[in-house]
Symmetry: C2
Subunit: 347 residues, 2 copies
């Protein structure tokens, strides 16, 4: 099952991540031995998906601490600040990145002992971030599975799967848990231009586990909804604002608007680490613009007319009013509001 | 200007069409000498776009008549029926195909003279279909240009340009006419998966004429609309039902729904030959499903996970309630209804 897809892992003395840029044609791990190389891996999308980025950042911090384990206290403190900074600069939208950096910094500050001891504490903390992520995804999955009827045809956008997390996945975790609970569901995967996470990663994950999956172009979901061929939508998210507005992969907003028009429930699988209450609404979430070459073609295959201008916003914001429910590890928040989200963090 | 892009042309004794499958990387004409080879060209998308398909079909009929010009009356009649049939089977959605076949058949039936004389009358009629198409597009363009404000940022989907017609274009004809009228407009082109008509053809046409054009993935238009970056939408159409429902390239419906949400006018450039009053609503328009290889990649570049199912509907239907206006050669029909469309054909 999905836990066999180990998106990122510690291997004796270094960190490894599946190179998601070349999936599904090729499957290989890349090794990392410093925070800055992990930051490069995040920026260049070797790894992507908010929870996976958070885990990767935690290991990036641990790597740097281990590299500095023979340093003086001052050198260690300075080196670690540089590591936090370089990781924080890697991608702007996914809040899990900043959540993981903050968690690692707090752990470092709270810890007693030699630099070497603290470095090992930070490695243990990174392992813990990873273990907890899988645990949370399984809990979210069981909450979300209840929302899907037997036989449901569920649309998802981008990849919020095992590959976007430490394992099991958020949106795809809901599908996996539904299947484990004995429900027959089928998945409709938007291809998700320009990086094609749906065609390459979601389709691959579902095929690996024999969950029926149908690939469509991003511009086809509205037509299928109008024909009564979609029963529910479940997506992941990179950051949820305090009021329930959802930043996710570009195109999510259009799916949500169409789902609303056709009275199709629109769910967002979202661990608490993805909710950023420091931001009151989606308007304040920074939207990353990525390189033009992603839109003018795909990798070596370039097809656009020369001389054209390009826009490449990587995310968009879906207002809370379009969200039927946030699926979290603490349960499902229907029709999310600031009050309901605050309540979630109290319990 | 756009009349320099000669999408299809008669060359002494044969017919030629630009191979639109390889644009913009390569530019070449393919020669045709029979109705069945033209039908193959339409099916394989050497030529596409409803008005261009209509013109191509007219020349396909003329080619077959010329091939049969030394036949007996009976052989000619049978050969022509076969030609009408093979052309009608090439693509199901664009009504201009059937309109052009009917026009040529009517011309044939009305004409007096020898088989050779009738063959030449049909070739003249094909030339006339082509000339009229350009004329109609220029008239539509001038009606549509009035609707765009100076400085307007106009989104279009697919390619309804010179390449989709005999010249000037329908939606892009509106942009060309606006520019000719001295308006500064800029175009936002959806890339239009899976065949990428926006990235390859619309972007190319606009760059050729120095009309500012920005390429986006299909899933980005909603985000740009939410940011106030789109002032109007103009698209073409493959068939309009008697009530104003619009069949056009897959994804048009999603753009129309988002435009409505953001109070952005949504116009459809539509010659009368594209209106099919034999069909009372969009529900009855046949939607072509095309090969899976178009969705699993693009040409030789295949990226989707193996084993995935695929859907590939080539068109969708936008209900009339989402259409701000139909731009025709007889003027603009705002908020189209069956009554208004019937009125249009009376005058």
């Amino acid at each position: 099952m999905s836990e066999n897809i180990e998106t990122l892992r510690w291997n004796q003395d270094h960190f490894e991540m599946i190179d998601q840029r070349i999936l599904p044609a090729d499957f290989k791990y890349i090794s990392y031995t410093s925070a800055s190389s992990v930051a490069d891996g995040i920026r260049s999308m070797v790894v992507r998906g908010a929870p996976a980025i958070g885990c990767a950042a935690a290991y990036g911090v641990a790597l740097e601490a281990l590299n500095l384990q023979d340093s003086s206290d001052d050198e260690f403190a300075k080196g670690m600040e540089d590591a936090f900074e370089v990781l924080a600069q890697s991608r702007p939208t996914a809040v899990n990145l900043f959540w993981a950096i903050d968690r690692m910094r707090t752990k470092m500050n709270e810890s007693q002992g030699t630099v070497k001891e603290i470095a090992n504490i930070l490695l243990d903390e990174a392992h813990k971030v990873k273990r907890e992520d899988i645990e949370i995804n399984r809990t979210m999955g069981s909450h979300g599975a209840v929302l899907l009827n037997d036989g449901a045809r569920v649309l998802t956008h981008c990849n919020a799967g095992a590959l976007a997390t430490a394992g099991h996945g958020t949106a795809l975790g809901v599908f996996r848990s539904a299947v484990e609970a004995g429900k027959k569901i089928s998945v409709i995967a938007d291809e998700t231009r320009p990086f094609l996470q749906g065609a390459r990663l979601t389709a691959w994950e579902m095929v690996q586990e024999n969950i029926p999956v149908t690939l469509i172009s991003d511009n086809m979901s509205g037509h299928l909804m109008s024909q009564g061929e979609v029963d529910a939508v479940v997506v992941g998210t990179d950051r949820v604002a305090g009021n329930g507005d959802v930043a996710n992969k570009i195109g999510t907003y259009m799916v949500a608007v169409l789902a609303k028009r056709h009275n199709i429930p629109f769910y967002v699988a979202c661990p608490l680490s993805t909710i950023d209450r420091s931001i009151t609404s989606g308007k304040d979430i920074p939207i990353e613009e990525r390189p033009v070459e992603e839109v003018t073609g795909y990798r070596d295959c370039q097809w656009a007319a020369e001389g054209v201008n390009v826009r490449n916003p990587a995310f968009d914001v879906t207002p809370a009013e379009l969200v039927t429910g946030l699926i979290t590890e603490k349960g499902v928040v229907l029709n999310p509001t600031t009050e309901k989200i605050n309540e979630l963090f109290k319990s």
